[in-house]
């Protein structure tokens, strides 16, 4: 499985697309496939402060509830409201229309603690 080369990853199968002082966050193709049909996502509120690797929401498939962890700290500036009506977008397009939240980064240095696409591929292949 090849990951998009412009992203960083967490061990918990989230991705981050860094864009200056903000970042977009989602779950990986591996994660959506492992979860199966996603039927509900619960995301943090716009304006809330979130801490790297903290539990900030849930993703539910038909069978199970899974925690969502954030790979970066910051203030939530946008959530993907389209997922309320169409949570399956996370399955169809995990790196595009299925993005979850956007944050204003509070600590850009912490991206050092994330994985490169090649490093993440090793984890996902295990």
């Amino acid at each position: 499985m090849t990951q998009p080369s412009d992203l960083l990853f967490s061990k918990e199968h989230e991705w981050v697309r860094l864009d200056g002082e903000s970042a977009t966050i989602g779950i990986t193709d591996y994660a959506q496939n492992a979860l199966g049909d996603i039927v509900y996502v619960e995301l943090p509120k716009v304006g809330s402060q979130i801490e790297q690797f903290a539990n900030v929401g849930v993703i539910e498939s038909v069978k199970a509830v899974s925690d969502l962890f954030t790979p970066t700290s910051g203030e939530v500036i946008e959530v993907n409201e389209a997922l309320e009506d169409d949570p399956a977008a996370v399955n169809r397009d995990p790196y595009g229309a299925g993005w979850l939240i956007k944050v204003r980064l509070s600590n850009p240095d912490e991206s050092k603690r994330l994985l490169s696409p090649a490093e993440y591929e090793k984890i996902a292949a295990e």
Binding site: G36, V39, E42, K63, E84
Partner: protein, 362 residues
Amino acid sequence: MRRTALHGEHVGAGARMVPFAEFEMPVQYAGILREHDAVRHRAGLFDLSHMGQFRLTGDMVAPWADTLTINAVGTMKPLQARYNIFCNPGGGAHDDTIFYRLEDGWLLVVNASNADKMWRLLNERRPRSGVELENLHGRRALIAIQGPRSARMLQPHVDVDLASLRYYFCAAGRVIGIPVTIARTGYTGEDGFELFVEGGNASAIWNELLRAHHGEGLEPCGLGARDVLRLEAGMPLYGHELTEAITPVQAGLKWAIKMDKPEFVGKDALQEQLELDAYSRIAGLVMEGRTPAREGYPVWYEGRTVGTVRSGSIAPSVGNKNIATALVSPDAAAIGTRLEVEIRGKFHAATVVAMPFYKRPK
């Protein structure tokens, strides 16, 4: 971990395998929602070989079984199938089962999770003569084809006229030349058939049906889709809506209780429960919002907890709403009652509705 005769087919098709009642079973193939859609609109193929199959023979089977079960066995016609429940003396359910009256004896199908318990129980209660028991669990396979196109897809392969095989009846026949018992039974809320076959012959039937009909929409289906289908159809799942502590009365299965039988295990307790009418009971819930209700979530009514969710799922055939069953106190169980389900510390509105949630179009 035990494997069914179709294990190789599941793994070969890329199914996701999970442990279930000592067996390694497919929870999904292409995806639960796609498989659910196939069964509601076309047809799906299920491996149910993990379920317990016992052969009961002898002159005394029917009168003996009638003392252990709530529904009538002795009145079953030749080749009839009937849903039945074994209760404990307190009225709780040991298991819910189906009896099939065959030409030369009876087939009893029990839940996989209860197969060992039920085998022990039957042997402990067996009379000195007139009842012989044979355990086919794991040796005999069970393949179900379920969905509106199942009769049309199955008919070319069998020597039985499926149009004349009535709901909850069975026939001895052959599928692609292989001896099978074909029953018009299922657990999905759709028309369909269940094929009882020797394990060694299961893969030939499985593969031939898929080869011939996959192009017309026949999909291999896993236990994930089966659970959504049965919940929409209002069918209980042992361990959820029925347990050793939840009686058939509480589960809304009064129709299956034959109180005119002189005696059966649990009769007095069930009679008393019916007369007092004060028991907590299974209610069908439709959630107002999009948050799924899951097993174990507390249910609230007028500011107090009145029970817990027993099963819950998104329901594609119920307007894509979230549905659930909950065991609630009687004052909270009336149809139309507005309840709240506590989910991660928040309260989500739900309404009690009549079950089944879904009925197939006639």
